[in-house]
């Protein structure tokens, strides 16, 4: 049996989903879009799965989220639907409910946050609401776990017995009401032939839904009658079709809530939110608080928690590697196999795991910011500056996280409100100079620009941001043109995040990263090991300069000649930089036979300062690392698009490197 969970954003849907399924969840994407699809087994009923549909406000087809929800319900035909409704915001939540009811599937309404309504002195007559809607209504508190067994029982029963919603006129009396009924009769046969609910089809036709018109294949005569009905409806209602339909739904909802709902004056949650917002989005305090919050998150992640976890992890890994190393030596294992295990496998595992502490810590803070409702405030205060570049306020956080690490930054785009914003932000985050690039900058600055260090460093960071903004404008005017997403965002009341939801999210992100990244980072490390260890006759090399990797470096070296550095060691370092940016320096060290400290004196022998600038520009802009590619692949859901992005990044890096080199030659 398959149940689907549908509801508005901020209605507590994820909390309810987590409470219903526990940690046994499968996360993927709906095909072709960056919309997440979560599925899990219902607790205590192994034969029943629950699908978490995206949070939406309406069933139109303007956003991918709305489209996948509608298609899922119509095409995959779940046995039953749980519609979660935020009781503190019941009018707007019921708007979606009315549309779901038109789809004629077994529905149970889960009336969430009833505890908050009661706390504010309000009340809802459950029986009257259920009677008015024609479906069972179960009051719950997803956060506190109240009413869940009753909800599951009702939903499973409705699904098993295929209990459709009792027929109700879901509109207020008037012109629209009459027209919906007339059109429903008109197209009933067509709809039934398509296996679609007639009333739903009628409403879609009245909305002017093109695909629906096609699908129902109305004849000329019927189309004319439909058009006539619409014109008459608009005249009588005194407004156009879209306004008239929305108006009649809300009028119906108002008539229901007038009977069944006693609104609280102002819920305690809202009163607390208002007080918090006086500072958090205040005219003078809003921006400084935001900057402070981000700095705190970065400091805690990179200096306190994340780095401590990283240190412990690497201590453990080093010890383990040393142990394996000693074991293999004692055992007298073949030196190539020994090298494969220690330099290939162990290094690969280490590279994958080294990301984990940062990702988990950053996601901990991000999910807390998201779940409390602060992230929506960030979007509110940062929307104006980002809008200039075709983005909306929500993109700021993933982009800032990009300064720490591209991987969680790309993963964090999942919370953005639209497919377009998600894709655009995913493309831009790698321009932010991640923390792994810093050692490369530092080494080169020490070697070449001892005096202008601050200038070069600042230039790199600033240049990355500038290019990202430029790219946003160019992409916004080309690839992403004509798909502006309305910035109409709800500001939910501040709430304490549920530890369970935060924990599950961390678990899911970590697992997701390890699964995806393991293959790609691990393969990359082993491939690099292989290239480093053997020459083209597959003999083990004694001299680094004869390895397959060096050959590849020599092959690529001419590509970088226009950028001023044609030395094979530099191109080889850039190749290994695909696994992780830290590898750039270590490879240079190995190939030049210098320790990291000696690089400062060795590097000026390899290139001119102008070429060093080009090298740094290239390092800043080309694909951050294999882990970022894995995250990219995961979020974009397409291998081809991922490849395109990687090629694009390298292309941009080359062009900018070239320009930087030529400009630097002028001075």
């Amino acid at each position: 049996m398959k149940l689907a969970l549908a509801g508005n954003q901020n209605s507590g849907k994820t909390t309810l989903f987590n409470a219903l399924t526990g940690s046994n969840q499968h996360v993927g994407n709906f095909p072709g879009v960056t919309v997440e699809r979560k599925e899990g087994a219902l607790r205590g009923a192994k034969d029943c799965t629950v699908v978490d549909l995206p949070g939406i406000y309406s069933l139109r087809t303007y956003t991918p989220e709305e489209l996948v929800t509608r298609n899922f319900i119509l095409d995959e035909k779940p046995d039953g639907l749980i519609n979660i409704v935020d009781a503190t915001n019941i009018e707007r939540n019921l708007y979606l409910t009315l549309q779901l009811l038109e789809l004629r599937v077994p529905i149970v309404v889960a009336l969430n946050m009833m505890d908050e309504v009661r706390a504010g002195g309000g009340s809802i007559d459950i029986r009257a609401l259920s009677e008015a809607l024609g479906v069972p209504v179960v009051p719950i508190s997803a956060a506190k776990g109240e009413g869940l067994s009753e909800l599951v029982e009702q939903a499973v029963r409705a699904a098993r017995e295929r209990t459709l919603p009792a027929p109700r006129d879901l509109c207020a009396p008037g012109a629209v009401h009459r027209t919906i009924h007339a059109v429903t009769h008109l197209i009933e046969d067509h709809a039934q032939r398509q296996g679609l609910p007639p009333r739903f089809c009628a409403v879609k036709l009245l909305e002017g839904d093109g695909p629906m018109l096609q699908r129902l294949s109305l004849d000329e005569n019927e189309r004319e009658m439909l058009e006539h009905a619409v014109v008459q409806m608009e005249q009588e209602a005194g407004m156009d079709r879209d306004a008239a339909l929305a108006d009649t739904r809300y009028a119906f909802i108002e008539s229901v809530t007038a009977r069944a709902v006693k609104k609280p004056e102002k819920s305690p949650a809202r009163r607390r939110s208002d007080a918090a917002d006086r500072i958090l989005t205040g005219r003078y305090t809003g921006l400084p608080v935001f900057v402070g919050v981000m700095l705190l998150v970065f400091w805690l992640t990179f200096s306190v928690i994340g780095s401590a976890l990283s240190d412990w992890l690497s201590l453990g890994l080093d010890a383990l590697t040393a142990l394996i190393d000693r074991g293999l030596t004692l055992w007298g294992v073949n030196p190539v196999v020994h090298s494969l295990i220690v330099d290939g496998v162990c290094a690969g595992v280490g590279a994958v795991l080294s990301f984990l502490p940062i990702i988990v810590t950053l996601f901990f803070f991000l999910s807390v910011l998201e779940d409390t409702g602060y992230m929506a405030r960030v979007a509110f205060i940062m929307d104006k500056p980002l809008r200039r570049f075709g983005l909306s306020g929500r993109s700021i956080v993933p982009m800032l996280v990009g300064f720490g690490c591209s991987v969680p930054a790309i993963m964090a785009t999942r919370t953005l409100a639209s497919d377009r914003d998600r894709k655009l932000t995913i493309l831009l985050t790698p321009f932010m100079s991640c923390s792994a690039k810093l050692p490369v900058y530092a080494a080169f600055c020490a070697a070449f620009f001892a005096r202008g260090q601050a200038l070069v460093m600042g230039g790199l960071y600033f240049g990355g941001v500038l290019l990202a903004l430029l790219a946003a404008r160019v992409l916004g005017a080309t690839a992403f043109r004509g798909k502006p997403v309305p910035f109409v965002m709800e500001l939910p009341d501040y709430r304490l995040p549920s530890p369970r939801s935060v924990g599950l999210l961390l678990w899911e992100k970590a697992r997701d990263f390890l699964q995806r990244a393991f293959t790609i980072i691990f393969t990359a490390t082993v491939v690099i090991w292989f290239l480093q260890t053997f020459d083209y006759r597959l003999n083990v090399v004694a001299d680094n300069s004869r390895s397959l990797l060096a050959m590849l470096g020599r092959l690529l070296a001419p590509v970088f000649a226009p950028l001023g550095f044609a030395d094979w060691r530099l191109s080889t370092a850039l190749v290994t930089g695909f696994t992780a940016k830290e590898a750039v320096l270590s490879t240079l060290g190995v190939l030049t036979g210098a320790s990291l400290n000696e690089l400062t004196t060795v590097l000026p022998g390899l290139m001119t300062p102008q070429a060093a600038l080009a090298f740094l520009a290239f390092t800043l802009l080309y694909t951050p690392c294999a882990a970022a590619v894995a995250a990219l692949r995961r979020e974009l859901g397409s291998r081809l698009a991922t490849l395109g992005v990687v090629v694009g990044q390298c292309g941009i890096a080359w062009i900018v490197g070239f320009v930087v080199y030529r400009l630097a030659l002028l001075f």
Partner: protein, 77 residues
């Protein structure tokens, strides 16, 4: 008058929702239907967007979009 011109703290009733396409539909879906009472809660620190209260919840809208929503002061639904 336009919703964008309504001062902070004042309440008015929506008369028409202008604009087009996805934006207008989204506004209607969010409950900005004719007759709905809205209250301007605050304006973002950088002067845009604005925050309004309607139907018991808070909504953020850009000024350029609220300029297309006509409201009438003193009229209630």
């Amino acid at each position: 008058m336009k919703l964008s011109e309504l001062p902070v703290g004042r309440t008015a009733a929506v008369t028409t929702v202008g604009g087009e396409g996805a934006l207008r539909l989204r506004l209607l879906d969010m409950g900005l239907t004719p007759g709905t009472r809205v209250r301007v809660e605050k304006v973002a620190p950088l002067g845009d967007p604005m925050q309004i209260e309607l139907r018991g919840y808070l909504l953020t809208l850009r000024l350029e979009d609220t300029a297309r929503i006509e409201v009438e002061k003193g009229k209630s639904a």
